[in-house]
């Protein structure tokens, strides 16, 4: 009987731990979102081209779960991760516009 009690308590402890870990990971998503915003801002300040932005964002967000989209005007943004920030890269001489979006999440 004591073995059964010990096993039951162990099971409860394991389930509770797993739940806490899952909860912490989900709450971390907000922090990633803030990181994505500042990373994209920094990349934009140093940007000459969309490729340049993409490279700088990947340096800044190393270790974070994120995705970068480079879109033409009108192209829909279809992210897999939920929290997105976007920036428009404009070449006023050639009238070319690209949208760079960085999405982060758990």
């Amino acid at each position: 009987m004591r073995h059964l009690e010990a096993a039951a308590i162990g099971l409860v402890f394991a389930i509770a731990s797993a739940y806490m870990v899952a909860l912490t990971a989900r709450q971390g998503a907000g922090v990633s979102g803030v990181g994505a915003q500042r990373a994209l801002a920094w990349a934009l300040l140093n940007a000459q081209s969309p490729e340049n932005v993409t490279r700088l964002v990947s340096i800044a967000l190393n270790g974070t779960n994120y995705e970068v989209h480079v879109l033409n005007w009108g192209e829909p943004l279809e992210p897999k991760l939920p929290f997105c920030y976007g920036a428009a890269l404009v070449n006023a001489t050639t009238n070319e516009v690209k949208v760079v979006a960085v999405c982060a999440g758990p």
Partner: protein, 238 residues
């Protein structure tokens, strides 16, 4: 008799404990299956100010930035803002300040006034200011340079070139790299923002220079480009 009662009490206690454990396990399992829907407040500020800096630089890179062109670019941004998660602030004012040649220094500036969260309380729009400064200082040295079958008279000028961005969210000074558009000029980086430029006199355009201020002097202007495509005017006397 006493032993029997003790055993029965222990068994009841054990059953109660198992009941509590089963109940707790069920509750925790149910909570694990429940998906959280956190409320997210998107952070705004750095990215929106950086976006305006980028827009001002793009306007300057056309070589003929004025209020109308800036207005057009902001209009395009507002259109994109409706489709993509740019989350731009309401821009209440945008101004291109014309180049102010004072001596051998040329300053181009663009100012945006935006309505941030703080504006809601203070009623004062906040500013994003982009200032591009080129300060030329001729060293007095001249030399000849042969490119192909042509010989150019090169005028040596020390140039300090800076981009200063100020906003409620950041204050940044960049020292962008410079390049020549004709492959004739000599360029050497002396420090972060300091350059030693050899400008070909034959490829320079005549320009009025106010040295000392108020006294127009005939001089020359030779344009380089920075890494963002903005023209960098190198000024020197004839």
């Amino acid at each position: 008799m006493g032993v029997k009662r003790g055993t029965a009490e222990r068994r009841r206690g054990q059953l109660a404990l198992i009941g509590v454990i089963v109940l707790a396990s069920t509750l925790i399992a149910l909570l694990s299956a429940y998906s959280l829907q956190p409320k997210i407040a998107y952070e705004r500020g750095h990215l929106q100010a950086a976006q305006l800096v980028h827009l001002a630089r793009a306007c300057m890179a056309t070589g003929s930035c004025n209020d109308a062109k800036l207005e057009e670019l902001v209009g395009r941004l507002c259109q994109l803002n409706q489709t993509y998660p740019i989350r731009m602030y309401n821009i209440s004012e945008k101004r291109v300040l014309n180049p102010d040649p004072s001596g051998l220094t040329v300053t181009n500036a663009t100012v945006f006034r935006i309505k941030t969260l703080q504006t809601e309380f203070t009623n004062n729009p906040e500013e994003v200011r982009i200032i591009v400064t080129t300060a030329s200082e001729p060293t007095g040295r001249r030399y000849s340079k042969r490119v192909g079958d042509r010989v150019y008279t090169m005028v040596e000028v020390k140039v300090t070139y800076t981009h200063s961005y100020s906003s409620p969210f950041f204050n940044v000074t960049l020292c962008p790299s410079l390049r020549t558009t004709d492959g004739v000029a000599d360029l050497k980086r002396l420090g972060k923002c300091d350059w030693l430029v050899g400008a070909p006199l034959e490829l320079s355009q005549p320009a009025d220079i106010n040295v000392p201020p108020g006294l127009g002097v005939k001089g020359y202007r030779y344009d380089l480009k920075d890494e963002f495509g903005i023209a960098v005017p190198v000024l020197f006397r004839g």
